[in-house]
Amino acid sequence: MTSLLGYLGGEDGRNILSGLVNTCVLWVVGTLLGTVLGFLTAVARRYGPRPIDWLLKACVEVIRGTPFLVQAYLLYFGGPYLCLELGGASACLTLDPFEAGILGLTIYAGAYFSELFRAGFDAIPRGHIEAATTVGLDRWQTLRRIILPEMTMLVLPAMVNMSILLLKETAVLSIISVKELKFQVDIIGNRDYAFVEAFTILALVYWALVELCGRAGRYAEARLSRYRFAHS
């Protein structure tokens, strides 16, 4: 136990802390951008032309059907081969590990969130949208004022679960040398051959973050429960 606490001070402590900060940034930014991407995807699939729906559906299925580890690898190591030629100049998807991590998480989260949002759209009673039409709301106003908030309260519990899964997926990014929590803890473990101590710290920190996220989610749900179960 003393050895465990020993890692929390000095140089190691600072490294763990910076790993923790990076993990949180990856998690929060990935979740937020993923939410936006997922929402846009769900809207495009619902309101856009058929071919867009098919194309996005294929993308979502590939992303949901492959491990995040493999996606992170392909994005980081394969990105530089993805080039766009434009009038002599060419730009390639060369990313540093952190950028690749954010982009990878965003795409991964976006795929899952888009499915959540699609289910949320489908769960809104058609009559609620018709009521909006009869009082004169146009499509955009209906989306903004009725569909979006109503869907949010329907999918919130599932979104909290999904963002907890995302937090845990960030650990995978150490394999493309993103300096997040697991990366820092790996270094200590390898150096001192102290894997048990190091990974115990890791487990506790992840668990604390998950607990925090779960609590925030339950608080938000409680605030929303007042109107979540309206039966009309």
Partner: protein, 264 residues
């Protein structure tokens, strides 16, 4: 001007794929009066109302509101032509609609539901919209429930909020699709009495209902729909009085246990 009906429907046809649900409906709803639409389940009552509310697009035929074409008009060569969005919006604004399922938005309070379109569509400042919404809620007896969410209101209260939501926009015509059919019997009274008050105030109403008692006592005109056709229309006394059309006889046999026998 007074001879122009509030709602005029001519040759209205609605098909869903191969299924013809409305087969050429002609209907006039006189201004300032209540017209009740009755008929067996599946006869096309909701579809007709939804066409008038422009929630469905009719396959053929025309609808006029106060003499103005709704959704479709005549083109230069006499062909049926879809009207521009601006005209649709302007004519639709004359119509309020109340649904069987209330369809209040669950994330807004009663007040929020009523004020929503005033703010979002008509650009009224929030405070003015809330004041107007409050006045409408007061008219349906729910001022005290303004801050409640739909999940905290009884069915009858929800339906009264839905009526207030439609009335806040000052429509010329109110459409009701079985407004009491999903309510417990002890709650239908409060909704029907709000509707009676509205009728007394001179609102033009087109009401789909199985409440024969209400229809017989409030409506000036009864329209009986059967298999997508308008079978009988006339004053309640004519339609319900004897001798009755055999289909109406049959229909009443099904619905008369709703306490309406004494009224006919």
């Amino acid at each position: 001007m007074s001879t122009v009906p509030a709602i005029r429907v001519r040759g209205l046809v609605k098909r869903f794929g191969d299924v013809e649900v409305l087969s050429g409906i002609d209907l006039d709803a006189p201004r300032g009066e209540v017209t009740c639409l009755i008929g067996p389940s599946g006869s096309g009552k909701s579809t007709l109302l939804r066409c008038i509310a422009l929630l469905e697009e009719a396959t053929d035929g025309f609808i006029e509101i106060d003499g103005e074409p709704l959704g479709f008009g005549l083109g230069p060569n006499g062909e049926r032509m879809r009207l521009p969005q601006a005209s649709v919006r302007q004519v639709r604004a004359k119509i309020g609609m109340v649904f069987q399922q209330f369809n209040l938005w669950p994330h807004m309070t009663a007040l929020g539901n009523v004020a929503e379109a005033l703010v979002t569509v008509h650009g009224m400042p929030r405070a003015a919209a809330n004041a107007k919404a409050m006045a409408e809620l007061d008219k349906v007896g729910l001022a005290a429930r303004a801050e409640h969410y739909p999940s905290e209101l009884s069915g009858g209260q929800q339906q009264r909020v839905a009526i207030a939501r439609a009335l806040a926009l000052e429509p010329r015509i109110m459409l009701f699709d079985e407004p009491t059919s999903s309510l417990d019997p002890e709650l239908t009274g409060e909704v029907l009495s709000v509707m009676r008050g509205l009728a007394d105030s001179g609102m033009t109403m087109l009401v789909v209902t199985h409440e024969i008692g209400f229809a017989a006592s409030v409506a000036s005109k009864i329209v009986f729909l059967d298999h997508g056709k308008l079978l009988v229309e006339g004053a309640p006394g004519t339609v319900f009085g004897k001798p009755r059309h055999p289909r109406i006889e049959q229909f009443l046999d099904t619905y008369l246990d709703r306490g309406a026998a004494g009224l006919l």
